[in-house]
Amino acid sequence: MTDLAWQGFPRADGSVGVRNDLLVLSIAGLTGPTARRVAAALPHAKCVTMPFGGGLLGADAQAHMRSLIGFGLNPNVGAVLLIGSDKPKLQEIAQAIAASSKPLAAICLDDCDHDALTLTDRAIRAGAQLQLDISRLRRQRAALSDLCIGLECGRSDPSSGMVANPLIGLVADRLEQAGAQVMFGETLEWLGAEHLLAKRAASPQIAEELRAAVQRREQLARSHGQDLLGHNPGPTNIAAGLSTIEEKSLGAIAKSGSGCIRGVLSLAQRPAGPGLYAMDASAYSPESLSGFVAAGAQMLLFSTGVGNSYVSLLAPTIKLSANPRAGRTLAQQLDFDASPVFEGRQSASDAADALLHRLLDVASGTMTWGEILGEGDEVVARMGEAL
Protein backbone atom coordinates (compact mmCIF):
# COMPACT_ATOMS: atom_id res chain seq x y z
CA MET A 1 0.00 0.00 0.00
CA THR A 2 2.41 2.67 -1.17
CA ASP A 3 0.48 5.00 -3.45
CA LEU A 4 -2.91 5.77 -2.01
CA ALA A 5 -3.68 8.81 -4.11
CA TRP A 6 -6.64 9.10 -6.43
CA GLN A 7 -7.73 11.44 -9.21
CA GLY A 8 -10.66 13.78 -8.65
CA PHE A 9 -12.29 17.06 -9.63
CA PRO A 10 -11.16 19.93 -7.36
CA ARG A 11 -13.95 22.32 -6.30
CA ALA A 12 -13.77 25.98 -5.37
CA ASP A 13 -14.64 25.20 -1.73
CA GLY A 14 -11.65 22.85 -1.34
CA SER A 15 -13.59 19.61 -1.69
CA VAL A 16 -12.81 17.09 -4.45
CA GLY A 17 -15.42 15.28 -6.53
CA VAL A 18 -15.16 11.66 -7.63
CA ARG A 19 -17.62 12.59 -10.41
CA ASN A 20 -18.38 15.83 -12.23
CA ASP A 21 -22.13 15.90 -12.69
CA LEU A 22 -24.67 18.53 -13.61
CA LEU A 23 -27.44 18.18 -11.01
CA VAL A 24 -30.97 19.09 -12.07
CA LEU A 25 -32.73 19.63 -8.74
CA SER A 26 -36.44 20.30 -8.35
CA ILE A 27 -37.03 21.62 -4.84
CA ALA A 28 -40.70 20.65 -4.51
CA GLY A 29 -43.31 18.38 -6.01
CA LEU A 30 -44.88 20.93 -8.34
CA THR A 31 -41.88 21.25 -10.64
CA GLY A 32 -40.82 17.60 -10.54
CA PRO A 33 -42.28 16.63 -13.93
CA THR A 34 -40.69 19.71 -15.54
CA ALA A 35 -37.32 18.85 -14.00
CA ARG A 36 -37.54 15.31 -15.36
CA ARG A 37 -38.35 16.68 -18.83
CA VAL A 38 -35.38 19.05 -18.59
CA ALA A 39 -33.03 16.28 -17.46
CA ALA A 40 -34.23 14.02 -20.27
CA ALA A 41 -33.10 16.72 -22.70
CA LEU A 42 -29.68 16.89 -21.03
CA PRO A 43 -28.56 13.24 -21.15
CA HIS A 44 -25.44 13.73 -18.99
CA ALA A 45 -27.38 15.38 -16.16
CA LYS A 46 -28.43 13.71 -12.91
CA CYS A 47 -31.99 14.54 -11.87
CA VAL A 48 -33.28 14.70 -8.30
CA THR A 49 -36.88 15.71 -7.74
CA MET A 50 -38.27 16.29 -4.27
CA PRO A 51 -41.80 14.89 -4.12
CA PHE A 52 -42.82 17.22 -1.27
CA GLY A 53 -41.56 20.38 0.35
CA GLY A 54 -44.38 22.79 1.18
CA GLY A 55 -45.50 23.34 4.75
CA LEU A 56 -42.89 21.18 6.42
CA LEU A 57 -42.39 21.77 10.13
CA GLY A 58 -39.60 21.65 12.69
CA ALA A 59 -36.99 18.94 12.25
CA ASP A 60 -38.62 17.89 8.96
CA ALA A 61 -38.24 21.38 7.48
CA GLN A 62 -34.63 21.60 8.63
CA ALA A 63 -33.69 18.16 7.29
CA HIS A 64 -35.41 19.00 4.01
CA MET A 65 -33.42 22.22 3.52
CA ARG A 66 -30.16 20.57 4.63
CA SER A 67 -30.81 17.80 2.09
CA LEU A 68 -31.55 20.12 -0.85
CA ILE A 69 -28.59 22.36 -0.12
CA GLY A 70 -26.42 19.35 0.68
CA PHE A 71 -27.12 17.65 -2.65
CA GLY A 72 -26.07 20.86 -4.39
CA LEU A 73 -22.92 21.19 -2.28
CA ASN A 74 -21.89 17.54 -2.73
CA PRO A 75 -18.37 17.50 -4.24
CA ASN A 76 -19.50 15.19 -7.06
CA VAL A 77 -21.83 17.90 -8.35
CA GLY A 78 -19.97 20.23 -10.72
CA ALA A 79 -22.90 22.56 -11.32
CA VAL A 80 -26.50 22.86 -10.19
CA LEU A 81 -29.64 23.67 -12.16
CA LEU A 82 -32.28 24.52 -9.54
CA ILE A 83 -35.92 24.41 -10.53
CA GLY A 84 -38.81 25.45 -8.30
CA SER A 85 -42.04 27.34 -7.86
CA ASP A 86 -41.43 28.89 -4.43
CA LYS A 87 -39.17 31.84 -5.17
CA PRO A 88 -37.99 32.75 -1.65
CA LYS A 89 -37.10 29.11 -0.95
CA LEU A 90 -35.42 28.76 -4.35
CA GLN A 91 -33.33 31.85 -3.62
CA GLU A 92 -32.40 30.65 -0.15
CA ILE A 93 -31.17 27.32 -1.54
CA ALA A 94 -29.40 29.01 -4.46
CA GLN A 95 -27.55 31.40 -2.12
CA ALA A 96 -26.46 28.58 0.19
CA ILE A 97 -25.05 26.57 -2.73
CA ALA A 98 -23.56 29.60 -4.50
CA ALA A 99 -21.63 30.46 -1.30
CA SER A 100 -19.33 27.57 -2.26
CA SER A 101 -18.68 29.30 -5.63
CA LYS A 102 -20.26 26.37 -7.44
CA PRO A 103 -21.69 27.23 -10.87
CA LEU A 104 -25.44 27.42 -10.56
CA ALA A 105 -28.61 28.53 -12.34
CA ALA A 106 -31.94 28.87 -10.51
CA ILE A 107 -35.11 29.14 -12.56
CA CYS A 108 -38.50 29.79 -10.97
CA LEU A 109 -41.86 28.96 -12.50
CA ASP A 110 -43.11 32.37 -11.33
CA ASP A 111 -40.58 34.04 -13.65
CA CYS A 112 -41.82 31.99 -16.61
CA ASP A 113 -45.40 33.32 -16.63
CA HIS A 114 -46.35 30.15 -14.75
CA ASP A 115 -45.75 28.21 -17.96
CA ALA A 116 -43.98 24.89 -17.44
CA LEU A 117 -42.98 24.82 -21.12
CA THR A 118 -41.27 28.21 -20.84
CA LEU A 119 -39.55 26.93 -17.69
CA THR A 120 -38.49 23.82 -19.62
CA ASP A 121 -37.01 25.87 -22.44
CA ARG A 122 -35.07 28.23 -20.17
CA ALA A 123 -33.86 25.42 -17.94
CA ILE A 124 -32.60 23.28 -20.83
CA ARG A 125 -30.65 26.23 -22.25
CA ALA A 126 -29.16 27.15 -18.85
CA GLY A 127 -28.36 23.52 -18.13
CA ALA A 128 -26.66 23.02 -21.47
CA GLN A 129 -24.34 25.94 -20.74
CA LEU A 130 -23.51 24.59 -17.28
CA GLN A 131 -22.81 21.16 -18.77
CA LEU A 132 -20.37 22.70 -21.25
CA ASP A 133 -18.65 24.69 -18.49
CA ILE A 134 -18.08 21.73 -16.19
CA SER A 135 -16.91 19.52 -19.05
CA ARG A 136 -13.76 21.69 -19.18
CA LEU A 137 -12.64 20.46 -15.76
CA ARG A 138 -9.95 17.77 -15.52
CA ARG A 139 -9.13 15.34 -12.74
CA GLN A 140 -6.19 16.11 -10.48
CA ARG A 141 -4.33 14.17 -7.84
CA ALA A 142 -6.19 13.91 -4.53
CA ALA A 143 -5.45 12.31 -1.16
CA LEU A 144 -7.27 9.87 1.11
CA SER A 145 -7.99 12.83 3.38
CA ASP A 146 -10.08 14.37 0.57
CA LEU A 147 -12.59 11.53 0.88
CA CYS A 148 -15.90 11.52 2.74
CA ILE A 149 -17.39 8.02 2.77
CA GLY A 150 -20.77 6.76 4.00
CA LEU A 151 -21.16 3.17 5.26
CA GLU A 152 -24.33 1.17 4.72
CA CYS A 153 -25.69 -2.37 4.83
CA GLY A 154 -28.90 -3.62 3.30
CA ARG A 155 -30.67 -6.94 2.80
CA SER A 156 -28.12 -8.33 5.18
CA ASP A 157 -27.56 -11.92 6.14
CA PRO A 158 -25.24 -13.31 8.82
CA SER A 159 -22.32 -13.22 6.35
CA SER A 160 -22.68 -9.41 6.38
CA GLY A 161 -22.00 -9.20 10.09
CA MET A 162 -19.29 -11.86 10.09
CA VAL A 163 -17.26 -10.81 7.03
CA ALA A 164 -18.50 -7.98 4.77
CA ASN A 165 -19.18 -5.42 7.53
CA PRO A 166 -15.91 -6.11 9.40
CA LEU A 167 -14.10 -5.67 6.05
CA ILE A 168 -15.77 -2.28 5.64
CA GLY A 169 -14.70 -1.61 9.23
CA LEU A 170 -11.04 -2.27 8.37
CA VAL A 171 -11.28 0.13 5.41
CA ALA A 172 -13.10 2.69 7.59
CA ASP A 173 -10.23 2.52 10.11
CA ARG A 174 -7.67 3.10 7.34
CA LEU A 175 -9.61 6.07 5.94
CA GLU A 176 -10.26 7.61 9.33
CA GLN A 177 -6.59 7.27 10.32
CA ALA A 178 -5.60 8.97 7.02
CA GLY A 179 -7.76 12.00 7.87
CA ALA A 180 -10.84 11.19 5.79
CA GLN A 181 -14.42 11.69 6.95
CA VAL A 182 -16.39 8.50 7.57
CA MET A 183 -20.07 8.29 8.44
CA PHE A 184 -22.25 5.40 9.54
CA GLY A 185 -25.95 5.63 10.36
CA GLU A 186 -29.00 3.33 10.56
CA THR A 187 -29.78 4.15 14.21
CA LEU A 188 -32.18 1.25 14.66
CA GLU A 189 -29.29 -1.09 13.92
CA TRP A 190 -27.33 0.17 16.90
CA LEU A 191 -30.06 -1.35 19.10
CA GLY A 192 -28.46 -4.10 21.20
CA ALA A 193 -24.96 -2.90 20.33
CA GLU A 194 -25.13 0.68 21.61
CA HIS A 195 -22.99 -0.21 24.65
CA LEU A 196 -20.13 -1.08 22.27
CA LEU A 197 -20.55 2.18 20.32
CA ALA A 198 -20.83 4.25 23.51
CA LYS A 199 -17.44 2.90 24.66
CA ARG A 200 -15.90 4.39 21.51
CA ALA A 201 -17.46 7.84 21.88
CA ALA A 202 -15.05 10.79 22.04
CA SER A 203 -16.83 12.19 25.11
CA PRO A 204 -19.44 11.10 27.69
CA GLN A 205 -21.87 13.49 26.02
CA ILE A 206 -21.47 11.78 22.64
CA ALA A 207 -21.90 8.40 24.35
CA GLU A 208 -25.16 9.66 25.85
CA GLU A 209 -26.32 11.00 22.46
CA LEU A 210 -25.70 7.55 20.91
CA ARG A 211 -27.72 5.82 23.64
CA ALA A 212 -30.50 8.43 23.50
CA ALA A 213 -30.82 8.09 19.72
CA VAL A 214 -31.37 4.34 20.07
CA GLN A 215 -33.81 4.76 22.95
CA ARG A 216 -35.85 7.23 20.92
CA ARG A 217 -36.25 4.76 18.02
CA GLU A 218 -36.98 1.86 20.39
CA GLN A 219 -39.61 3.96 22.15
CA LEU A 220 -41.08 5.00 18.80
CA ALA A 221 -41.62 1.34 17.87
CA ARG A 222 -43.08 0.56 21.31
CA SER A 223 -45.41 3.54 21.32
CA HIS A 224 -46.95 2.26 18.09
CA GLY A 225 -47.24 -1.28 19.49
CA GLN A 226 -44.79 -2.30 16.80
CA ASP A 227 -42.71 -5.45 17.23
CA LEU A 228 -39.49 -5.02 15.29
CA LEU A 229 -39.44 -8.64 14.16
CA GLY A 230 -40.60 -8.67 10.55
CA HIS A 231 -39.57 -5.02 10.12
CA ASN A 232 -36.03 -5.09 11.39
CA PRO A 233 -34.87 -7.77 10.97
CA GLY A 234 -37.12 -7.86 7.91
CA PRO A 235 -38.46 -10.91 6.09
CA THR A 236 -35.40 -11.13 3.83
CA ASN A 237 -33.03 -10.90 6.83
CA ILE A 238 -34.99 -13.58 8.69
CA ALA A 239 -35.07 -15.98 5.75
CA ALA A 240 -31.31 -15.53 5.50
CA GLY A 241 -30.79 -16.48 9.15
CA LEU A 242 -30.88 -13.30 11.24
CA SER A 243 -33.17 -13.85 14.24
CA THR A 244 -33.19 -10.65 16.30
CA ILE A 245 -32.38 -6.95 16.01
CA GLU A 246 -29.54 -7.47 18.51
CA GLU A 247 -27.92 -10.05 16.24
CA LYS A 248 -28.34 -7.80 13.22
CA SER A 249 -27.04 -4.73 15.05
CA LEU A 250 -23.92 -6.46 16.38
CA GLY A 251 -23.07 -7.31 12.80
CA ALA A 252 -24.11 -3.94 11.40
CA ILE A 253 -21.93 -1.81 13.69
CA ALA A 254 -18.84 -3.72 12.55
CA LYS A 255 -18.91 -1.40 9.50
CA SER A 256 -17.80 1.45 11.72
CA GLY A 257 -14.50 -0.28 12.51
CA SER A 258 -12.79 0.49 15.78
CA GLY A 259 -12.28 4.26 15.58
CA CYS A 260 -13.30 6.94 18.02
CA ILE A 261 -16.81 8.33 17.32
CA ARG A 262 -16.43 12.12 17.03
CA GLY A 263 -20.08 13.09 17.05
CA VAL A 264 -23.72 12.23 16.38
CA LEU A 265 -25.11 13.95 13.27
CA SER A 266 -28.72 14.69 12.35
CA LEU A 267 -29.98 13.58 8.95
CA ALA A 268 -27.98 15.31 6.19
CA GLN A 269 -25.81 17.20 8.69
CA ARG A 270 -22.19 17.68 7.59
CA PRO A 271 -19.44 16.40 9.90
CA ALA A 272 -17.55 19.21 11.63
CA GLY A 273 -14.13 17.76 10.79
CA PRO A 274 -12.26 14.63 9.83
CA GLY A 275 -12.88 11.31 11.55
CA LEU A 276 -15.72 8.91 12.23
CA TYR A 277 -19.28 10.19 12.78
CA ALA A 278 -22.61 8.51 13.54
CA MET A 279 -25.70 9.82 11.73
CA ASP A 280 -28.95 9.42 13.64
CA ALA A 281 -31.28 8.51 10.78
CA SER A 282 -33.47 5.91 9.17
CA ALA A 283 -32.05 2.41 8.72
CA TYR A 284 -33.80 2.04 5.35
CA SER A 285 -31.21 2.28 2.62
CA PRO A 286 -32.58 4.92 0.21
CA GLU A 287 -33.14 7.48 2.99
CA SER A 288 -29.96 6.54 4.80
CA LEU A 289 -27.76 6.86 1.69
CA SER A 290 -29.25 10.24 0.78
CA GLY A 291 -28.55 11.45 4.33
CA PHE A 292 -24.85 10.67 3.81
CA VAL A 293 -24.78 12.19 0.31
CA ALA A 294 -26.40 15.42 1.49
CA ALA A 295 -23.83 15.51 4.32
CA GLY A 296 -21.05 15.46 1.72
CA ALA A 297 -20.25 11.79 1.07
CA GLN A 298 -18.64 11.35 -2.36
CA MET A 299 -18.83 7.56 -2.17
CA LEU A 300 -20.57 4.82 -0.24
CA LEU A 301 -19.46 1.37 0.87
CA PHE A 302 -22.58 -0.77 0.94
CA SER A 303 -22.58 -4.38 2.12
CA THR A 304 -25.35 -6.82 1.41
CA GLY A 305 -25.92 -10.45 2.22
CA VAL A 306 -28.36 -11.89 -0.29
CA GLY A 307 -28.14 -8.91 -2.67
CA ASN A 308 -29.40 -5.33 -2.91
CA SER A 309 -29.40 -3.41 -6.18
CA TYR A 310 -30.07 0.07 -4.76
CA VAL A 311 -27.36 2.74 -4.98
CA SER A 312 -27.08 6.49 -4.56
CA LEU A 313 -27.56 8.54 -7.71
CA LEU A 314 -24.93 11.14 -6.81
CA ALA A 315 -22.34 9.10 -4.87
CA PRO A 316 -20.88 6.00 -6.53
CA THR A 317 -21.80 3.07 -4.30
CA ILE A 318 -19.53 0.05 -4.00
CA LYS A 319 -21.68 -3.00 -3.35
CA LEU A 320 -20.09 -6.00 -1.66
CA SER A 321 -21.21 -9.31 -0.25
CA ALA A 322 -19.49 -12.23 1.47
CA ASN A 323 -22.34 -14.64 0.74
CA PRO A 324 -20.94 -17.30 -1.63
CA ARG A 325 -24.33 -17.67 -3.36
CA ALA A 326 -24.59 -13.93 -3.98
CA GLY A 327 -20.99 -13.94 -5.22
CA ARG A 328 -21.90 -16.54 -7.84
CA THR A 329 -25.26 -15.17 -8.94
CA LEU A 330 -24.93 -11.36 -8.69
CA ALA A 331 -21.84 -10.79 -10.81
CA GLN A 332 -23.32 -7.58 -12.26
CA GLN A 333 -24.53 -6.19 -8.98
CA LEU A 334 -21.57 -6.78 -6.66
CA ASP A 335 -18.59 -4.52 -7.23
CA PHE A 336 -16.57 -6.50 -4.71
CA ASP A 337 -16.86 -10.21 -3.88
CA ALA A 338 -15.89 -10.89 -0.25
CA SER A 339 -16.93 -14.55 -0.33
CA PRO A 340 -13.30 -15.76 -0.56
CA VAL A 341 -12.91 -14.45 3.01
CA PHE A 342 -16.09 -16.23 4.12
CA GLU A 343 -14.81 -19.44 2.58
CA GLY A 344 -11.34 -19.07 4.13
CA ARG A 345 -9.56 -18.61 0.79
CA GLN A 346 -8.45 -15.01 1.45
CA SER A 347 -7.36 -13.21 4.61
CA ALA A 348 -9.47 -10.35 5.86
CA SER A 349 -6.45 -8.06 5.73
CA ASP A 350 -5.76 -8.86 2.05
CA ALA A 351 -9.43 -8.36 1.21
CA ALA A 352 -9.47 -5.00 3.03
CA ASP A 353 -6.45 -3.86 0.99
CA ALA A 354 -8.23 -4.91 -2.20
CA LEU A 355 -11.44 -3.16 -1.14
CA LEU A 356 -9.56 0.08 -0.41
CA HIS A 357 -7.92 -0.08 -3.83
CA ARG A 358 -11.30 -0.69 -5.42
CA LEU A 359 -12.62 2.37 -3.60
CA LEU A 360 -9.79 4.54 -4.97
CA ASP A 361 -10.23 3.05 -8.44
CA VAL A 362 -13.91 4.03 -8.43
CA ALA A 363 -13.05 7.41 -6.91
CA SER A 364 -10.77 8.01 -9.90
CA GLY A 365 -13.49 7.27 -12.42
CA THR A 366 -14.10 3.53 -12.82
CA MET A 367 -17.86 3.01 -12.84
CA THR A 368 -19.81 0.85 -10.41
CA TRP A 369 -22.44 -1.63 -11.58
CA GLY A 370 -25.08 0.60 -10.00
CA GLU A 371 -23.94 3.57 -12.12
CA ILE A 372 -23.75 1.52 -15.30
CA LEU A 373 -27.18 -0.01 -14.79
CA GLY A 374 -28.84 3.18 -13.52
CA GLU A 375 -29.96 1.81 -10.13
CA GLY A 376 -29.45 5.12 -8.34
CA ASP A 377 -31.87 7.55 -6.74
CA GLU A 378 -31.99 10.09 -3.93
CA VAL A 379 -34.75 9.88 -1.32
CA VAL A 380 -35.17 12.41 1.46
CA ALA A 381 -36.71 11.04 4.67
CA ARG A 382 -40.02 12.51 5.78
CA MET A 383 -40.63 12.42 9.53
CA GLY A 384 -43.98 13.98 10.27
CA GLU A 385 -46.96 15.87 8.99
CA ALA A 386 -46.87 19.06 6.94
CA LEU A 387 -49.25 21.98 7.16
Partner: protein, 115 residues
Protein backbone atom coordinates in the same frame (compact mmCIF):
# COMPACT_ATOMS: atom_id res chain seq x y z
CA UNK B 1 -9.46 -4.16 16.68
CA UNK B 2 -10.86 -4.02 20.19
CA UNK B 3 -14.17 -5.77 19.74
CA UNK B 4 -14.45 -9.37 18.59
CA UNK B 5 -17.42 -8.25 16.51
CA UNK B 6 -15.22 -6.03 14.37
CA UNK B 7 -12.70 -8.73 13.50
CA UNK B 8 -13.42 -10.38 10.16
CA UNK B 9 -13.90 -14.08 10.59
CA UNK B 10 -12.56 -16.68 8.22
CA UNK B 11 -13.61 -20.26 7.75
CA UNK B 12 -11.67 -23.26 6.60
CA UNK B 13 -13.00 -25.51 3.85
CA UNK B 14 -13.46 -28.37 6.30
CA UNK B 15 -15.42 -26.55 9.00
CA UNK B 16 -19.20 -26.75 8.85
CA UNK B 17 -19.86 -23.86 11.21
CA UNK B 18 -18.09 -20.84 12.60
CA UNK B 19 -17.87 -19.80 16.26
CA UNK B 20 -17.13 -16.09 16.62
CA UNK B 21 -16.29 -15.79 20.33
CA UNK B 22 -15.35 -18.20 23.18
CA UNK B 23 -18.47 -17.20 25.15
CA UNK B 24 -20.82 -18.00 22.27
CA UNK B 25 -23.37 -20.80 22.59
CA UNK B 26 -24.43 -20.69 18.94
CA UNK B 27 -22.38 -21.10 15.75
CA UNK B 28 -23.12 -20.01 12.18
CA UNK B 29 -23.43 -22.59 9.38
CA UNK B 30 -20.87 -22.15 6.62
CA UNK B 31 -22.91 -24.36 4.28
CA UNK B 32 -26.25 -26.15 4.37
CA UNK B 33 -26.02 -28.70 7.20
CA UNK B 34 -27.93 -32.01 7.21
CA UNK B 35 -29.21 -33.92 10.27
CA UNK B 36 -26.93 -36.76 11.32
CA UNK B 37 -23.68 -35.34 10.00
CA UNK B 38 -20.85 -34.45 12.33
CA UNK B 39 -19.23 -31.13 11.49
CA UNK B 40 -15.98 -29.45 12.42
CA UNK B 41 -16.15 -26.04 14.08
CA UNK B 42 -13.97 -23.11 13.13
CA UNK B 43 -13.12 -20.34 15.57
CA UNK B 44 -12.56 -20.00 19.32
CA UNK B 45 -14.86 -22.88 20.30
CA UNK B 46 -14.74 -25.13 23.37
CA UNK B 47 -16.03 -28.04 21.30
CA UNK B 48 -14.30 -29.07 18.09
CA UNK B 49 -17.02 -31.16 16.49
CA UNK B 50 -20.80 -31.08 16.65
CA UNK B 51 -23.50 -33.53 15.56
CA UNK B 52 -26.18 -31.80 13.51
CA UNK B 53 -29.69 -32.62 14.80
CA UNK B 54 -31.82 -30.64 12.34
CA UNK B 55 -31.35 -29.11 8.89
CA UNK B 56 -29.53 -25.79 9.28
CA UNK B 57 -29.22 -23.62 6.16
CA UNK B 58 -26.14 -21.63 5.16
CA UNK B 59 -25.65 -18.65 7.53
CA UNK B 60 -28.29 -19.89 9.97
CA UNK B 61 -27.40 -20.64 13.61
CA UNK B 62 -26.80 -24.00 15.28
CA UNK B 63 -26.78 -24.61 19.06
CA UNK B 64 -23.38 -25.55 20.49
CA UNK B 65 -25.06 -26.85 23.66
CA UNK B 66 -28.55 -27.58 24.97
CA UNK B 67 -30.28 -24.28 25.74
CA UNK B 68 -33.18 -23.83 28.19
CA UNK B 69 -36.00 -21.27 27.92
CA UNK B 70 -34.94 -18.01 29.57
CA UNK B 71 -31.27 -18.55 28.78
CA UNK B 72 -29.41 -15.91 26.74
CA UNK B 73 -28.15 -16.84 23.29
CA UNK B 74 -24.69 -15.44 22.63
CA UNK B 75 -22.97 -14.59 19.35
CA UNK B 76 -20.01 -12.18 18.89
CA UNK B 77 -19.66 -12.75 22.67
CA UNK B 78 -22.78 -10.62 23.11
CA UNK B 79 -26.40 -11.39 23.97
CA UNK B 80 -28.53 -11.65 20.82
CA UNK B 81 -31.79 -12.64 22.57
CA UNK B 82 -33.49 -15.02 24.98
CA UNK B 83 -34.30 -18.66 24.29
CA UNK B 84 -38.10 -19.09 24.19
CA UNK B 85 -38.29 -22.88 23.68
CA UNK B 86 -35.87 -25.63 24.72
CA UNK B 87 -33.19 -26.11 22.06
CA UNK B 88 -31.19 -29.34 21.82
CA UNK B 89 -27.48 -29.40 21.02
CA UNK B 90 -27.02 -29.31 17.25
CA UNK B 91 -30.50 -27.86 16.66
CA UNK B 92 -31.47 -24.85 14.54
CA UNK B 93 -31.61 -21.58 16.52
CA UNK B 94 -33.89 -19.00 14.93
CA UNK B 95 -37.07 -16.96 15.35
CA UNK B 96 -39.10 -20.05 16.41
CA UNK B 97 -37.03 -20.55 19.59
CA UNK B 98 -35.16 -17.25 20.10
CA UNK B 99 -36.73 -13.85 20.88
CA UNK B 100 -35.30 -10.34 20.97
CA UNK B 101 -34.98 -8.72 24.39
CA UNK B 102 -35.51 -5.31 22.82
CA UNK B 103 -38.30 -3.32 21.17
CA UNK B 104 -40.98 -5.85 21.97
CA UNK B 105 -44.64 -5.03 21.67
CA UNK B 106 -46.18 -3.50 24.75
CA UNK B 107 -49.93 -3.16 25.16
CA UNK B 108 -51.07 0.15 23.65
CA UNK B 109 -51.84 2.89 26.19
CA UNK B 110 -55.48 3.12 25.09
CA UNK B 111 -57.96 0.28 25.84
CA UNK B 112 -58.04 -2.51 23.28
CA UNK B 113 -61.06 -2.61 21.00
CA UNK B 114 -61.22 -6.39 20.96
CA UNK B 115 -62.73 -8.34 23.86
Amino acid sequence: MKDPASKPAAASEAAGALVLHPHDNVATALRDLAPGETIGLQGPSHVLTLKVSEPVALCHKIALQALEPGQSARKYGEVIGTVSQAIGMGCHVHVHNLKSDRAQVQPPAHPSRSG
